[in-house]
């Protein structure tokens, strides 16, 4: 016990002159210098100098796969840009600028046909894989074809299967002589996608790592993850499952053709299965450069950092590209009544929910909208006083209860994921807040692995178990209204299992706006306006109770260069990091 107390005393003073006291206010970097939250608005330690250094990443678990065609996590999509260049990518710049789509392998964004059913891309000529072979449009087509065999590559998203034709195409492994006819390659640098219906967001789909080229003769299926052929600035030197991946420079990468990436170090290591607290301690000690997961430090390190002005200079509370929220189901009585749902919106204590999620530094900032700040169409509005009265508005809640005919409150079930400690705390916080206005909640915990498939995501189960309130969260696959809202509130996405429109929102006005935004003739500005309007209607219908715009306290390794929070993935931009 004495040793623990001694350690606590020692660690709080850290390596700087400070210790305790109030945290310094965040400030934009002056000339790229380190400062608290400097990485949110500017590039910290900007540099284009290549060194012989080794950039060290660590991860507390294992990736679902390092095969760019078989992964569905933000950090792997970010990390894969080191060795896999998709057709489109995001601009490498700090702040909201990072959400801008720019060409990757392609010469320009795709050209949409007048009817919206065809998208054409041209690939930069002269590009080569790490083995020296030329990159052609056929390699991009093959990269997508192989993802159709879900028994081999089961992890990645299935947008292509949904948007393109050929629903019965089994993939090149089961049908080597077959052909995905909805993708054509008229020449070595042209690739054309034939959609079954217009999809204006297709450029975002083209930014998914599944479009990174894969040479068919080097494809080893389930084993490709161990040594993917590179089209990015680095290539695999070795990868031992569950242990470590090592990347070295790709000699055939052309920097002028890939301005969104850099090759500033000679080696990158990714060590897997490192204890999460050990990662943080190594970061603070300077033995590690990046926590690959990019979701923020653990509680112990957070306390150390926030109590030390010196350590805070190397930290950023980065927007995490995620919304934590609660669904309010429109089919479970008495939440079928709008005013009853609005009572919950008013009564919820958003500060307590934020605390349950980790507070302002680890959880996020209190939310009042369903679109994330910085997304096209986002405007700040606060229908239920989440920002002006974050501890809850009891008066308006009671008025809403009276309006919905439940002046003394009502009873409703709450679903949450019982193996997520934060969600358990959220559910308890909500229960306590609603009890103040007479709303009695019965908490039901479910395993996260089957939460969407069997419980909250099964409308039948929700109805029969009166689960009017259901916890959830969403991280969009791409940063616009479609990516954020379609699966959550579009009436056409309600399905009997794996349902993510758990509120069962089916507002014809909202559905029409989604349809309008999807028209090929709708301009990007009008799209943004449509999604902004959807956001307002969703909040007006009170089917979503926003909790926080997710954030994480990231710590920059002391020797890192070119560091900034990257909006599309909610963590540092791995494609440009260097080391002094």
């Amino acid at each position: 016990m004495l040793a623990v107390l001694a350690l606590a005393a020692c660690s709080s003073s850290s390596t700087g002159t400070g210790g305790g006291g109030s945290s310094p206010s965040s400030s934009a970097a002056a000339g790229g210098a380190a400062a608290f939250n400097a990485g949110n608005t500017g590039v910290v330690n900007p540099s284009s100098t290549k060194t012989d250094a080794t950039l060290n990443y660590a991860m507390s678990s294992t990736p679902d796969s390092l095969d760019p065609g078989n992964t569905y996590y933000a950090w792997t999509w970010n990390f894969s840009r080191l060795y896999a260049t998709p057709l489109m990518t995001y601009k490498s710049c700090p702040g909201a600028c990072g959400n801008t789509l720019v060409p990757g392998l392609a010469t320009a964004p795709g050209t949409q046909s007048a009817d919206g059913l065809t998208w054409t891309y041209h690939i930069k000529s002269g590009l080569k894989f790490s083995d020296g072979e030329p990159i052609t449009s056929a390699d991009v087509k093959y990269a997508i074809e192989r993802t159709y065999d879900r028994s081999v590559l089961e992890n990645g998203p299935n947008y292509f299967q949904t948007l393109l034709g050929d629903p019965k195409y089994p993939g090149p492994y089961k049908d080597p002589k077959g052909d995905l006819t909805s993708i054509t390659t008229p020449d070595a640098t042209t690739i054309v996608f034939h959609l079954v219906s217009p999809f204006p967001d297709f450029n975002y789909v083209a930014a998914i790592p599944q479009t990174a080229p894969v040479p068919q003769d080097k494809d080893t299926g389930a084993n490709y993850q161990l040594d993917p052929v590179s089209s990015g600035p680095y290539m695999f030197q070795s990868y031992t499952l569950n242990k470590e991946a090592v990347l070295v420079d790709n000699p055939n990468w052309v920097p002028t053709e890939d301005p969104q990436a850099e090759q500033l170090v000679s080696k990158i290591t990714l060590t897997l299965n490192v204890n999460a607290d050990d990662i943080d301690n190594r970061l603070l000690a300077g033995d590690l450069d990046v926590d690959a997961a990019g979701t923020g430090v653990q509680a112990a390190a957070r306390a150390k950092i926030l109590s030390s002005p010196t350590l805070m200079k190397s930290a950023d509370v980065a927007p995490g590209n995620r919304l934590w929220f609660v669904y309010l189901n429109t089919k479970v009585a008495p939440l079928t009544n709008l005013a009853c749902r609005q009572a919950i919106e008013y009564a919820a204590n958003k500060t307590d929910l934020q605390t349950a999620l980790g507070g302002p530094y680890a959880g996020g900032s209190i939310a009042s909208t369903t679109l994330l700040p910085g997304m096209p169409g986002y405007t700040s509005f606060d229908d239920y006083k989440a920002l002006s009265q974050p501890t809850g508005d009891i008066t308006d809640a009671k008025a809403a209860l009276a309006k919905c005919g439940q002046p003394n409150g009502f009873t409703v079930g709450v679903a949450y994921r019982s193996d997520r400690p934060k969600e358990v705390a959220e559910a308890q916080a909500l229960q306590a807040a609603l009890a103040k206005v007479g709303i009695t909640t019965q908490l039901h915990g479910y395993p996260s692995g089957s939460y969407y498939s069997d419980f909250a995501g099964s409308p039948n189960y929700v109805h029969t178990h009166d689960l009017g309130i259901d916890f959830g969260g969403w991280s969009p696959d791409w940063p616009d209204g479609y990516g954020m809202l379609d699966e959550l509130v579009n009436g056409n996405t309600i399905v009997p299992a794996g349902n993510t429109n758990i509120s069962e929102e089916n507002n014809p006005q909202i559905n029409a706006l989604f349809t309008d935004a999807a028209k090929p003739t709708t301009s990007p500005a009008q799209q943004a306006a449509d999604y902004g309007q959807i956001d307002k209607l969703v909040m007006g219908d009170a089917v979503i109770l926003p909790e926080v715009y997710g954030k994480g306290l990231l710590y920059r390794g002391s020797d890192l260069t070119n560091v900034y929070a990257y909006a599309p993935f909610g963590m540092y931009n791995y494609a440009v990091l260097g080391k002094s």
């Binding site: 350690l7 294992t62 389930a222 299965n273």
Partner: protein, 336 residues
């Protein structure tokens, strides 16, 4: 002696088969009894938003749609005869012992375990040497100096050693000797073939942490055994014959006291070779213990089966060796 060894071998094989059946039952049968069908089981291994067709494909690929006896037979036959696996563009042969393919990574389980083994073996053997030498030496000295300050101090430290959990002592040692005073910075696995000095340096903290717990146990055991043995008549006789004290203590006293310690050592080492879960997790060592945790977290049944069988194998072999060692030390055991 040969008959004795053969008997033990056959018993060991029988035990391993029983362990495999029980483990298979736990992880493959119980979910079915709880109401989960093959389709629902397969859903866990198909990524997010899978289509029905994708789930059915995975169900077939993982063999979940086959009856349990057939699945068990495939598992057993794979260990003995190997198996074939479709990895996409080709069909790969998995030579024996083939423990199947990971449901998550779709990589063969055995090579992953082989890759993790050097880490666990390094950790276990190193710590075993430390705790055996240190624990026995301290136990002997404490027994010989019964009631002295050394005896009381060492038994108090031993009490602390058995009381403090490994993750506590491990985290304290990391905090002090890795982060605060970087005597052992950046503790991570380095293969001995890559850099023997770094391999040893990075294992010092895990060795000492693990050995601290076991040394405490062995010190107390040895002390108790020695106290009992040193009061025997034959020890007095040995002294009376004029033998040197060291000979009396080591050859006569310690040898007799070692029998129970050998038993426990065999079990402890066998258990550790199956994976020192807490130590590996604390120090982020990618050994069999960490592999086990990941397999359970991921509900990766082939990996769970593989690591449980391997752990059982080590325990069975270790106990068999201890039994054989007994027979060498004590001829009465051979004819029992």
């Amino acid at each position: 002696m040969i008959t004795f060894i053969i008997r033990r071998l056959l018993t060991a094989i029988f035990l391993l088969i029983v362990v495999s059946m029980i483990t298979f039952g736990i992880f493959f049968l119980i979910p079915r009894l709880a109401g989960q069908n093959a389709y629902e089981l397969a859903t866990q291994y198909v990524g997010r938003n899978p289509t029905r067709a994708a789930i059915l494909q995975m169900e077939a690929k993982l063999g979940l749609n086959e009856s349990l006896p057939v699945q068990y037979w495939h598992f057993l036959s794979g260990i003995v005869a190997g198996a074939h696996y479709n990895d996409g563009p080709s069909v790969t042969y998995c030579p024996p012992p083939c423990f199947g393919y990971s449901f998550r990574s779709q990589q063969p389980v055995w090579p992953q375990m082989v890759s993790a083994m050097p880490v666990t073996v390094s950790l276990a053997i190193g710590a075993a040497i430390l705790w055996l030498l240190g624990g026995v030496a301290i136990g002997v000295l404490s027994a010989l100096r019964r009631g002295s300050i050394f005896d009381r101090f060492s038994m108090a430290v031993a009490l602390a050693g058995v009381s403090l959990p490994i993750f506590f002592t491990g985290l304290i040692s990391l905090e002090l000797f890795s982060y605060k005073w970087p005597i052992f910075p950046n503790v991570q696995w380095v293969p001995i073939t890559s850099n023997p000095a770094l391999w040893a340096r990075n294992l010092v903290l895990p060795w000492v942490t693990l050995a601290f717990l076991y040394a405490a146990l062995y010190a107390r055991l040895t002390r108790a055994g020695m106290l009992e043995t040193m009061n025997e008549d034959y020890i007095r006789t040995a002294r009376a014959k004029g033998l040197r004290e060291r000979t009396v203590v080591v050859r006569h006293g310690l040898r007799a006291a070692l029998t129970p310690i050998l038993t426990i050592f065999g079990m402890d080492l066998g258990l550790l070779l199956g994976g020192a879960v807490l130590t590996e997790s604390t120090f982020s060592l990618p050994g069999l213990g960490q592999f086990t945790i990941l397999a359970i977290q991921n509900q990766d049944f082939p990996e769970i089966m593989g690591v449980v069988l391997l752990a059982a194998f080590f325990i069975v072999v270790a106990n068999m060796l201890v039994d054989i060692l007994y027979a060498v030390v004590d001829p009465r055991v051979r004819t029992a």
